[in-house]
């Protein structure tokens, strides 16, 4: 028990240090690298008084380490400056768009993890069969596909030619008036389900299919490959042979004994593919006109909305570290060997 607590504490402290270091990097990119940060934060048509104000606020006339303290203080207070394009606080822009991206990420990653684990496990269990070959080819294809290209291909195939799925936005515009979704969490699928709004639920589900599949392609490939590799190792272990000798059913062995032990490295890969999925939202959201954080970032990049870009970067990096921390702790909980090593 104490060993576990010790591990948790160590991980927490490490994450805190990493977050601090992250803030140094983002600070360097945000304030140190540009030659004229004031102009970047205010915009091209800045008046002298505005430049004066922003210089005081960001502490641009003070030494670098003081500027960093200003930066840290603002970030901890939840102040990520004001967007040049929309004139609203960056934090507000982020919180408004976060649920859309979260919903897409959640559906995509869940799909990827479940399908990836199942395919990888089956592939390992029936090693050498045509199923194995198929899964291996599909995984390789999955990690080699450019997300933006896959998105376009799916649009052509499933909208232009088959007409099965819509390709823009989260919901049909007419439904916003006929069957509006009550904004409880901002996650359309959840909100509509909980309020019994079946029409909207079906429509939202239909809208999320193509983007989620696009986002899930790479993670599915990665998870399938890792699961297959670890399962192959596990299935050759002695305790599996013992279980078989005792007459334990094959399905039980694969699904329970083997899978439980193979889950550890797979979870690591899930964390890694989350990084990919995070940046993947830039392209997927852009192509499918999904109103999330990804589209906002890309638009900000094109408009050189500097405060927005740097704000989102910091936010995304922090989020990623926190999620990785959770994944690590989950791994330690599942596999006691980690916390005791």
């Amino acid at each position: 028990m104490l060993a576990k607590l010790d591990y948790i504490l160590k991980r927490l402290v490490m994450s805190a240090l990493v977050l601090l270091g992250l803030s140094v990097i983002t600070f360097t990119l945000a304030r140190v690298v540009p030659s004229n940060p004031a102009a970047l934060y205010i915009g091209p048509r800045a008046r002298p008084e505005q430049i004066e104000t922003i210089t005081v606020k960001l502490g641009l006339d003070k030494p670098l380490y003081v500027q960093y303290l200003y930066y840290l203080r603002d970030a901890l207070r939840g102040d990520l400056q004001t967007s040049i394009a929309t004139k609203r606080p960056v934090v507000q822009e982020i919180t408004e768009r976060l649920p859309s991206s979260l919903e897409l990420l959640a559906v995509g990653m869940t799909m990827a993890t479940l399908i990836g684990i199942i395919l990888g496990a089956l592939s390992a269990r029936f090693q050498g069969s045509s199923l194995d070959v198929l899964v291996r080819i599909l995984s390789l294809v999955g990690v080699s596909l450019p997300a933006f290209w896959l998105a376009l291909l799916l649009q052509i195939a499933f909208y232009r030619h088959l007409g099965w799925f819509p390709i823009t936005s989260r919901l049909d515009t007419t439904l916003r008036f006929t069957h509006p979704i009550e904004p409880i969490t901002g996650l359309y699928l959840f909100d509509s389900l909980v309020t019994g709004n079946w029409v909207a639920f079906k429509d939202a589900a239909w809208h999320i299919v193509l983007p989620a599949v696009t986002l899930a392609a790479y993670p599915t490939g990665l998870v399938a490959r890792m699961t297959r590799a670890t399962m192959l190792e596990v299935l050759s272990q002695d305790y599996i042979r013992t279980a078989r000798a005792y007459g334990v059913g094959e399905l039980f062995i694969t699904g329970v004994h083997a899978l439980k032990n193979a889950l550890g490295p797979t979870l690591t890969v899930v964390g890694l593919s989350l990084a990919y999925a995070l940046t993947g939202t830039f392209f997927v959201e852009l192509v499918f006109n999904w109103p999330g954080l990804g589209t906002f970032t890309v638009h900000s990049l094109l408009k050189v909305d500097y405060p927005a870009i740097m704000g989102v970067t910091l936010f995304a990096a922090v989020g990623y570290v926190i999620i990785n921390l959770i994944v690590d702790l989950l791994q330690a909980w599942i596999d006691p060997r980690i916390s005791l090593s």
Binding site: L17, V18, G21, L22, I25, T26, L29, A30, V33, P34, L140, V141, V143, S144, L145, P146, A147, F148, W149, L152, L153, Q155, I156, Y159, R160, A275, Y276, L278, T279, F282, F283, L286, V287, T297, V298, L301, L302, V304, Y306, I309, M310, T313, A316, A317, Y320, V321, N324
Partner: protein, 302 residues
């Protein structure tokens, strides 16, 4: 008990896994037999040829470099324009061919930069140990805590769009992987007898690192670099797609997909073929990397 018993019992009497001439020829033979690996090598060779001799191979080289041809815009694939013409009338095939040089130059430069910075740091960290190791490891962990493309995007945003900045940005997000890799190898090699023997006869540390440790890192670095070639092509294409990489009228594949996006539903060839080029290139490098990994170091450096 004799000295040979001690050596044998410690299991350290094997030769280090260097990329010897014999292993190289064995690798080549295996590749030539396996159809998938052979295919990937073929694709890569085709890419290299296209990159080097593009202007002479492409049917419409000036269009490949950017000269517009508006009267024939949106021509579908035909005998004249094998892969069709884009929104400015330029032959898509020629642009893809000329763009292959960008597609290969970028990963080459990025990987060379990343290895040049990352490998020495990793060897230093693994060999020296102590506070230096700790420092370098914390730095690596820090950079790896960022999703790599996010860091690259932020760097390009800070520096301004363009091919050189994109390459720099990707290289900066990439070097930590090589540091970790080389550090791992160095750590496992540091305790080997041949290193201890060299040290005991007074060989300076620097020579040990250069002459004994780094050559043994070539194999895992090679495997990683091959896969990274594919990943960097993907990363650069992605940056170009959102407008942060090469600027028009350069025939960068990612840029071409982005420019064809508005016409995707009817003039599908403008985006589809450049994307296909990216996909096939990345696939080839991934396949080759997988094959190399299976041959050269199945478990040692995982």
């Amino acid at each position: 008990m004799q000295a040979s018993d001690v050596v044998a019992s410690k299991g350290q009497d094997r030769q280090p896994e260097r990329l010897t001439h014999r292993r190289f020829r064995y690798t080549v033979r295996v590749i030539l037999r396996d159809p998938l690996a052979f295919f990937s090598v073929l694709v890569i060779i085709v890419l290299i040829v296209l990159a080097l001799f593009g202007p002479w191979i492409a049917p419409y080289p000036e269009q490949g470099k950017g000269r517009t041809n508006v009267p024939e815009r949106f021509d579908p694939p035909s005998a004249k324009y094998w892969l069709g013409a884009d929104q400015l009338g330029r032959d898509v095939l020629s642009r893809i061919i000329i763009g292959s040089s960008i597609a290969l130059q970028v990963p080459m430069i990025v990987v060379i930069l990343a290895v040049a910075v990352g490998a020495p740091l990793g060897a230093l960290a693994g060999y020296a140990g102590g506070w230096l190791d700790n420092l370098i490891m914390r730095l690596t962990d820090l950079f790896l805590a960022f999703p790599s493309l996010l860091l690259a995007v932020a760097i390009v945003a800070a520096l301004g769009p363009g091919l050189t900045n994109a390459m720099l940005a990707i290289a900066i997000s990439w070097w930590p992987w090589y540091t970790r890799l080389v550090r791992g190898v160095t750590l496992s090699l540091r305790e080997r007898y041949f290193v201890e023997a060299a040290r005991s006869i007074g060989v300076p540390d620097r020579t040990i690192i250069l002459r004994h440790i780094l050559p043994n890192c070539v194999t895992p670095i090679l495997v990683q670099a091959t896969v990274d070639f594919g990943t960097v092509i993907l990363a650069e294409g992605s940056l170009a797609f959102i407008g942060l990489g090469t600027q028009p009228p350069a025939p960068d594949w990612g840029l071409m997909v982005s420019q064809g996006r508005s016409y995707i539903l009817d003039q599908w060839w403008i985006s589809t073929f450049p994307g296909l080029a990216i996909f096939i290139s990345v696939l080839a490098f991934n396949l080759l990397g997988d094959t190399l990994r299976d041959i050269l170091d199945p478990r040692q450096y995982r």
